[in-house]
Symmetry: C2
Subunit: 240 residues, 2 copies
């Protein structure tokens, strides 16, 4: 019995019972393939669907007047892409696939009915939303205040814990196909500087990056460097 990544994630936000999990799994439609680089919606569009990540990595981004791209959120398996977004007439940002993804659609009405009928699921979705907001706040601090090495370290810490929460880490390692230009758009530094920063973290033995696999030999040390405080992810206490 396969449990969707969405259900797996939401379990951290509320004490879901088996029937809740079943209901969530039922509502998540068949995932569709989205190729790396493809956009799901663009700034100015009206988006009527709710999407849920199934595999791969997608991002929210904004284009700047000088043509550069600022990534303002990363969507990993189990993440809602755009809960409630149909309320807005016009999107204020774009969303695109960073790597090849599979993404499910949920009917907005069907989801609303589910949430109204099942308080635990509703609670879990509100939790998910609060966590997304908390991540944005933490990114604001990360981008605004930390030096480039701490910034990168912080991102890796977050990715590790978020992927760990849906069972996508193994042996201190996770898979995210982030190229240096993408890391640059994420962290607000230049690709050249990403390279130097990454090299420095590697030299210190804090992370190893190879072929899209990131390994964090000693999480505590990286956490210390980054000034990482996992509170904002609001995950139940797991020593992992």
């Amino acid at each position: 019995m396969p449990i969707s990544f969405l259900a797996r994630k939401l379990q951290h936000g509320a004490n879901l019972v088996d029937s809740d999990v079943d209901r969530i799994d039922q509502i998540v439609g068949e995932p569709r393939d989205v190729l790396a680089g493809q956009d799901l919606f663009l700034h100015g569009d009206h988006s009527a669907f709710v999407h849920v990540m199934n595999s791969g990595t997608a991002c929210r981004y904004k284009m700047l007047p000088d043509g550069s791209r600022a990534i303002v959120a990363l969507m990993l398996p189990g993440d809602f892409c755009d809960l409630h977004i149909s309320i807005l007439a016009e999107m204020d940002h774009s969303m695109g696939a960073v790597s090849d993804c599979t993404i499910s659609r949920i009917s907005s009405d069907e989801l609303d009915r589910l949430l109204d009928a099942h308080p635990r699921i509703k609670r879990a979705c509100i939790w998910s939303n609060l966590v997304d907001e908390a991540i944005l706040r933490e990114w604001l601090v990360n981008i605004g205040r930390r030096s480039s090495d701490r910034r990168l370290a912080h991102l890796f810490c977050e990715l590790y814990l978020r992927l760990n929460a849906v069972g996508l880490t193994e042996d201190h390692t996770f898979h995210v196909p982030l190229t240096q230009p993408i890391l640059a758009d994420l962290l607000g530094i230049t690709p050249v500087h990403v390279q130097r920063t990454l090299a420095s973290l590697r030299r210190s033995g804090l992370v190893s990056v190879q072929g899209g696999y990131v390994r964090i030999p000693d999480f505590a040390v990286l956490e210390e460097l980054a000034g990482f405080d996992r509170t904002y992810l609001h995950l139940p206490d797991m020593t992992g």
Copy 2:
């Protein structure tokens, strides 16, 4: 018949009818005084109440290991401080009054009942939440990518429109008692550099700041400098 700032704000998010506005006004309790510098809750607390700004300015902030403060959100009259926040066991940030404020409390249960019974009000609150998130994304871009003068200009543009939306601007001018150290915590630059940047904007005649009053003689010019795109505030089109 006084309309609360909350109702005034929510009117932008849904087509509220008079009875909706009345219901919102009824639920907003008597505002309590909060002195500048006082905290509403701290990182690690559990917060059980929903607060609504009535007057003054408050902020969400995080303290950094080096003792400096990063402000991650500004709350203006009509803003919810912590909708749904009681779901989280532990706050990931603190909230404090920037200036002397008056803030109302709403019972969380009472609010939930109101939202369940009145879809238009519910829609307006979800809208408000989506806008808060959009502001965070835009701040992320602002802090991460723009030079200090554009950054400051962008903040002023946003404050002008947000205050304008609740009727708190007059003659191109609004009142927000932001000291240079507070602007520094908001923008992620040093107070010394805030001073230089502010002086430069003043010299160019783009803004004048005096005694907590900010005047923007020509909004279009400031908008242009800031690269400001008001889409993210999701306000109905008003030529203001």
